[in-house]
């Protein structure tokens, strides 16, 4: 029995290990995807004042602290039974939209994207952002840096800091924005819309027009037919910050739609003794193991899931892309996991459009961004869509608002079973008769990377010297600076 260990998995946030077992014929008998870490937030947040939860839970993930910050903020609003004023809600969602644009950008260009854009068998030295730059154009490096900079600037203006925002409190925020800041945010948002459109065009030119890549997307290796989950607004359109949780079946029809406070009636978490992470599943369908189908409670929560679970996008440019997406791939729902990369870019466009929509609302600069809670704090649930999936925070407190119990179901956690299944299927399909090489192992990791829009490096150099010239442009498209290495 041969054993292949991939440790640690890379180009992702967090820790993980993949164990692949081969029989004597060199074919895969089983694959295990283990999570080796546990820090204990659900225990050590007990005893803390509940208004600290948006600050403490930031530290669950430094890549998407904004997601935890917002889920926590909404949960604390619920604990205090307080309604956030409209301006407060808009400011939070504005921060969140800008964050989404940044996060989806870095994942596509630097993390999962290189595998996909460069091709699955590309050499290690090219399978990164630099390879992408060579293929798509040198100006890309500068644009990606710019998008990250703009997104984090908005987070800092509204949230106080670039990483681990600090301004959300029960009932709203500690500060608002003035007209000068509003103008700056609007200018950056309009640039973001153009950048998103550029990205979708690049995807269309490089990936969709290439038969090999298209075959990879629509092929069977990375396909699973499961339930799909996402937040939807009152019109059943995708919303990242607020709404009801909607789940559709493998056939695309609505299975259930529930309010955040009712999540525990629908979601349960299965336990295995060989990993620190649990496997959420739909409680009323039941846990049937790591299998596809409408009888299995396994569900996915990703950009693709959100598009599958909704009836459309709430902004016009994104909606047009949404329609093109489904008509290209043969209708709803789409099951091919590599299509998550495309869905992610459609969300990037929506995030940018929503960014501009919110920042041009006349009430965005109003000083009415916080309502002082008056009720006795008790218990509350806050749900948002993290870039990598539906994020649930549930707190109980005593009458002073000190936390007594916590339950968290974190974005990627929703996908633990689907990811395990995707890795296994990829390993089964690709590793045959003992033929194992680095490229094949990377294709096994590709099954993983499609799910998790973790961050990556905007520009990063792997071993080997890549000649690189990067031109940095300002928001008007004027070159600010040209940086070169290894070239004249």
């Amino acid at each position: 029995m041969q054993r292949i260990t991939i440790d640690p998995i890379t180009r992702l946030e967090g820790h993980g290990k993949i164990e692949i077992f081969l029989n004597d014929q060199g074919n895969v008998t089983n694959t295990y995807f283990q999570i080796p870490e546990l820090r204990g937030f659900e225990r050590f947040c007990v005893g803390r004042p509940v208004e600290e939860m948006p600050l403490l839970t930031n530290r669950i993930c430094g890549v998407c602290p904004e997601a935890h910050h917002m889920a926590a903020a909404k949960a604390t609003d619920a604990v205090y039974h307080v309604e956030v004023p409209r301006t407060g809600k808009m400011l939070r969602e504005l921060l969140y939209s800008a964050f989404y644009a940044t996060d989806h950008t870095t994942h596509f260009y630097a993390l999962g994207g290189p595998d996909f854009i460069m091709g699955p068998d590309a050499p290690v030295a090219e399978r990164n952002i630099l390879g992408v730059i060579h293929k798509v154009g040198l100006e890309i490096g500068g644009k990606v840096i710019q998008m990250r900079k703009y997104g984090h600037t908005v987070v800092e203006i509204i949230g106080g800091r670039k990483v681990h925002p600090c301004t959300s409190i029960p009932g709203g925020l500690t500060k608002g924005i003035n007209e000068e800041q509003r103008k700056e945010i609007e200018q950056m948002g309009r640039w973001a819309i153009e950048f998103a459109q550029f990205s979708l065009k690049a995807f269309s030119d490089i990936v969709l027009s290439n038969k090999t890549y298209l075959d990879l997307i629509v092929g069977d290796i990375y396909t699973h037919k499961t339930y799909y989950m996402g937040l939807v607004d009152g019109n059943n359109k995708v919303n990242f910050y607020d709404g009801m949780v909607r789940v559709v079946g493998p056939d695309g029809k609505e299975y259930v739609k529930y309010a955040p406070k009712d999540y525990a009636a629908h979601i349960a978490e299965h336990v295995e003794p060989w990993t620190y992470l649990k496997f959420p599943y739909l409680k009323n369908v039941g846990w049937k193991g790591f299998v596809d189908g409408s009888d299995s409670g396994v569900y996915m929560a990703t950009p693709l899931s959100r598009l599958n679970a909704a009836d459309g996008m709430a902004t016009p440019l994104a909606q047009a892309e949404y329609e093109k997406f489904y008509s290209t791939l043969g209708g709803k729902p789409v099951h091919q996991r590599l299509a998550i990369h495309w869905a992610r870019l459609i969300e990037l466009l929506y995030a940018a459009e929503r960014w501009v929509e919110l920042v041009t609302d006349p009430e965005i600069t109003s000083p009415n961004y916080h309502a002082i809670p008056t009720a006795v704090p008790t218990e509350g649930v806050g749900i948002v869509e993290a870039p990598r999936g539906t994020l649930t925070h549930h707190y109980w407190t005593d009458e002073r608002g000190v936390v007594t119990k916590v339950n968290l179901i974190v974005g990627t956690t929703n996908n633990y079973a689907p990811i395990t299944m995707s890795i296994k299927k990829a390993a089964d399909s690709l590793i045959k008769n003992g033929n194992v090489n680095e490229g094949l192992l990377n294709m096994v990791e590709m099954a993983f990377r499609a799910y998790d829009p973790c961050f990556g490096c905007a520009t990063h150099s792997l071993p080997g010297q890549m000649p690189l010239e990067v031109t940095i442009y300002d928001a008007q498209g004027n070159p600010l600076n040209v940086l070169k290495q290894f070239c004249d």
């Binding site: 029995m1 054993r3 991939i6 440790d7 640690p8 998995i9 890379t10 180009r11 992702l12 946030e13 077992f21 089983n30 295990y32 283990q34 870490e37 546990l38 820090r39 204990g40 225990r43 050590f44 004042p49 208004e51 600290e52 600050l55 530290r59 993930c61 430094g62 890549v63 604390t76 290690v124 840096i145 106080g160 990483v163 681990h164 301004t167 409190i169 029960p170 009932g171 500690t174 500060k175 978490e269 336990v271 060989w274 620190y276 649990k278 959420p280 916080h370 549930h394 608002g401 339950n407 973790c454 961050f455 990556g456 490096c457 520009t459 990063h460 150099s461 792997l462 071993p463 600076n481």
Partner: protein, 326 residues
């Protein structure tokens, strides 16, 4: 002529330190120009076996973020120490334990029990994760949790400390500039054990709010008031850890109306961060009567959490009594 090697690794952490490094934006190209990235799991595909194969001391600079929560964290700490010339405890987790250090209030089995018995957890056999589990194909393993979370220097020799949760990007950029200057022979490294990328004073020094003599008759909660945006938060009865926290962050949080939660760690010369805050907070209570003092202190609903939020693992006591029993 090959470039010196650079590595960055995360233990019990959140990834925020990696993001902070990326938020130096164009400056990442200076890193790229001056170093070969040998190992950085978030961004490139080198694996543990690649590090093991490197020569001892062949990595010039390793930025280590994250606390030591399990035996894998400790193992990699020893490995990277061996392979690195300079090891920096980067970020609050590595320096003082940070938020995951709050786990040191409880015994570790409570940490695991809580996670595996939440209201949505379906665990009728009361399973807990096992460090080694026999599957039909073979044993598969996961790291074992230690009784308490420890800082990097509690398990390994550390050359420099860079505090912050995460360290501010402008500070990271300044440190990178310094290291590049050192490589070019234009500057000297600070003495071993120094704190780099941060100031020598407290957050209060950087805070723009007005400060008067503090006389506190009541501790409040930030959500239950609309605080005066110009006046010191502590003076208004809102707990703020500025007085004992190291400067270097430009007092971002207090500037936007949120309390300083202490993520930059102890100020220069502070032996026990929580003790310093106990002194500071107690000194400004406006009462000499025991009953009244107690009533005022009732407004601080979680003093140990307030004073050791980022620093429990790095404090003199390091953990609560119950946590010590494992």
């Amino acid at each position: 002529m090959s470039k010196p090697k650079f590595a960055m690794y995360w233990a019990a952490s959140c990834g925020g330190c990696e993001i902070a490094v990326l938020n130096i934006h164009e400056k990442i190209l200076d890193v790229d120009a001056n170093f070969d990235v040998a190992f950085w799991p978030v961004a490139m595909d080198a694996k543990y076996k690649d590090v093991e194969a490197m020569e001892d001391g062949s990595i010039l600079l390793t930025l280590w973020n994250g606390g030591i929560r399990n035996d894998e964290n400790e193992h990699i700490a020893h490995l990277l120490r061996k392979k690195s010339k300079i090891l920096v405890a980067f970020g609050s987790c590595a320096c003082e334990g940070c938020i995951p250090g709050l786990a040191n209030f409880s015994p570790v089995n409570e940490i695991v029990d809580t996670a595996f018995s939440t209201i949505t957890t379906d665990n009728p056999d009361n399973i807990r994760p096992q460090s080694s589990f026999a599957m039909p194909e073979g044993n598969i393993t996961i790291p074992t949790l230690y009784p308490v979370l420890r800082t990097l220097d509690q398990v390994e020799d550390v050359d420099y400390y860079m505090p912050g949760c995460p360290p501010e990007s402008h500070q990271i950029a300044a440190v990178i500039d310094l290291v590049i200057q050192v490589l070019q022979g234009k500057a000297e490294l600070p003495p071993k054990g120094a704190t780099i990328g941060a100031g020598n004073s407290t957050v209060c020094d950087e805070c723009p709010r007005k400060r008067n003599v503090k006389t506190i008759k009541e501790f409040g909660r930030i959500q239950l008031t609309h605080a005066d945006p110009e006046l010191c938060l502590l003076e208004q009865g809102i707990p703020c850890n500025g007085p004992a926290t190291r400067s270097g962050c430009n007092a971002r949080c207090a500037t936007v109306g949120a309390q300083c939660i202490g993520c930059y760690g102890p100020a220069e010369g502070v032996v026990d961060y929580g003790a310093r805050l106990i002194s500071a907070f107690a000194s400004v209570i406006d009462s000499n009567k025991p009953d009244e003092i107690d009533k005022i202190l009732d407004g601080l609903v979680d003093p140990a959490g307030q004073f050791y939020r980022f620093n429990l693992a790095g404090s003199l006591l390091r953990s609560s009594k119950s946590a010590q029993k494992g």
